[in-house]
């Protein structure tokens, strides 16, 4: 068991000063060639690597990015992390991930923990509870301390910072429009409860598409659910009543559940019922029939977010704070078997 070697040990061993060792290893030409090479050889032999913690303390930056997301067992968030990680790695940053599990308290705790020197900046997506409470003091506080934050997907307009989102409203609009183009008129929207910002925007897009096409908007066709199980009952009823010929589901779990329910009732997808889901994930791709989705590239969002954060970290010029940007990631419809 040979412990990691430090500058001090090398210095002692070689009978020079710590400064000399440090400078030699950083190839400072202040140091004579002979000493320099000797130190370098020795360091290499002992596989010296500088201690990151010491460097962080000295440089007052850690070269690590903190990510806070609601949930990791979620295809979308995994792809975002993938994107972040890719850019981060290219630029020599590591990432440290904390999960809020959609809890406000855990989100606050995690942020406070990481903000105490562990990271240089945050990339985050709000927990449901945070959106519900609309309490963002923990985020503004961090920003006020001079630590940059980039929010993605589940954001809030009440905090000024860089953001990367998709245009949920337009995306929903286009999805619904595509259903209308295919002759569907009785389109249900299956969505989540309102306080999650994206749910709201998608609903707006849905309504607008209907109205723009002269289709009266029917309150009863909007189904707000919190958990998937209740969805089956409500939707099943609508289907049996032949009240709908298409469904726009706000996520793929809802979509697949709806398709299964339809089958049980004896309806054919897409013939009797067309289905589109928001958020392209692994379920849509492997469901039977495969599900048409609005693709929302998590990886692209992650990359964009990472770039924005790192740019800000590395632009020395203490930017006037007020040049925050909101980047919009384009979406597109991936047509599969569940629509025709």
């Amino acid at each position: 068991m040979k412990k990691k070697v430090t500058l001090k040990q090398i210095a002692k061993e070689l009978d020079v000063s710590i400064s000399t060792v440090s400078k030699s290893l950083r190839n400072s030409l202040e140091i004579g060639e002979e000493t320099r090479l000797k130190v370098q050889a020795f360091a290499k032999f002992y596989n010296y690597k500088p201690n990151n913690i010491a460097l962080s303390l000295k440089n007052r930056k850690t070269k690590t990015i903190g990510i806070i997301i609601p949930e990791i067992v979620h295809y979308f968030f995994s792809t975002v992390i993938n994107g972040i990680e890719q850019i981060a790695n290219e630029k020599g940053y590591s990432v440290i991930i904390c999960l809020s599990n959609d809890s406000f308290d855990k989100e606050v705790l995690n942020m406070e923990m990481l903000a105490n020197g562990s990271i240089d900046g945050f990339i985050m997506s709000l927990s449901k509870e945070t959106q519900y409470k609309a309490d963002f003091h923990h985020i503004t506080e961090v920003i006020n301390q001079g630590m940059p934050v980039v929010m993605f997907d589940r954001i809030t307009n009440e905090v000024l910072c860089d953001k990367v989102i998709i245009d949920d409203k337009t995306a929903a609009y286009e999805a619904v429009q595509s259903l209308i183009d295919k002759g569907r008129k009785k389109i249900a929207l299956v969505t989540t409860v309102d306080y999650v910002s994206v749910g709201k925007l998608r609903t707006d897009g849905y309504i607008k598409a209907l109205l723009d096409n002269g289709i009266p908007f029917n309150e009863n066709l909007i189904i707000k659910i919190e958990d998937v199980d209740t969805c089956e009952i409500t939707i099943g009823k609508l289907m049996e009543d032949k009240a709908i010929d298409a469904v726009f589901a706000v996520n793929e779990l809802f979509a697949v559940t709806i398709i299964k329910t339809a089958h049980k009732i004896g309806l054919k997808v897409p013939d009797d019922l067309a289905v589109i889901a928001f958020t392209d994930g692994i379920i849509s791709k492997y469901s039977t029939p495969t599900i048409t989705t609005v693709s929302q590239s998590g990886s692209k969002m992650g990359k964009k977010a990472a770039k924005m954060l790192i740019d800000r970290l590395e632009s020395e010029e203490e930017d006037g704070e007020e040049n925050y940007k909101t980047e919009v990631i384009e979406t597109h419809l991936i047509e599969r078997e569940s629509t025709n």
Copy 2:
């Protein structure tokens, strides 16, 4: 923008020494009550929080766990992280995650980076390439430096350390046995290429189950694939020839592809073809028909791994190194529609 406050600043402001501030905040009874309360009030007002990096340097431990996994966009690994994170949080640790993307070089790089003081110990699952090369020097090196490592799922016996695995062989055996119990005799095994340790063990279990039941083992029914697309062709042929009446697939992606291929050919699942998949994930749950799986609780593995690592980190007694444990997580069959 009020920057984070440090002990030094508080000391200056209150006109006492840094030591006094530090001790007051740690409630040392060495300090007079009056001073102590004054300092605490002041610190609270300015929302003082000690700098983690400085603490890490001082204490020579970071209270963070490094996780290295091949891929995050993978239900199984996500659930493992979830499990790790849960235990880590309970015990006051954070986690820092790096992805190897199944690349040996990236795995090495990530480990070296984290090993330089950023973390106290590793939890990892080997990349495919690492298993293929069978080069584990980066891992033994870290261990030799006194940094504990816990490996899970994709492990190697060539490295001595704590491990948490599932009993792949037995699990596979049981799955195949259950097919046999249902009267299936021509059971194909769809697996990955051999060098991934788990693939090998599952194959062993498969063969053993057959032999134990007096079913001759037919080399041609073992299909080794590296990517899903080729799987369709090979399997399709076997199905058309009526050469098989059941499939044991080593992961759920293979399973769902097989089911789709069967449908195309006009075979019914499970009537004409029973399907079992290893690794219970989201696809199996939502596929049509739903897929019977061997559940392998990622969350349990993660929790176990985290516990083992933290136990080791916190047992001062520099354990004799040689008491490494391998924990086996139990699996069980989740019966769904794809078998009957």
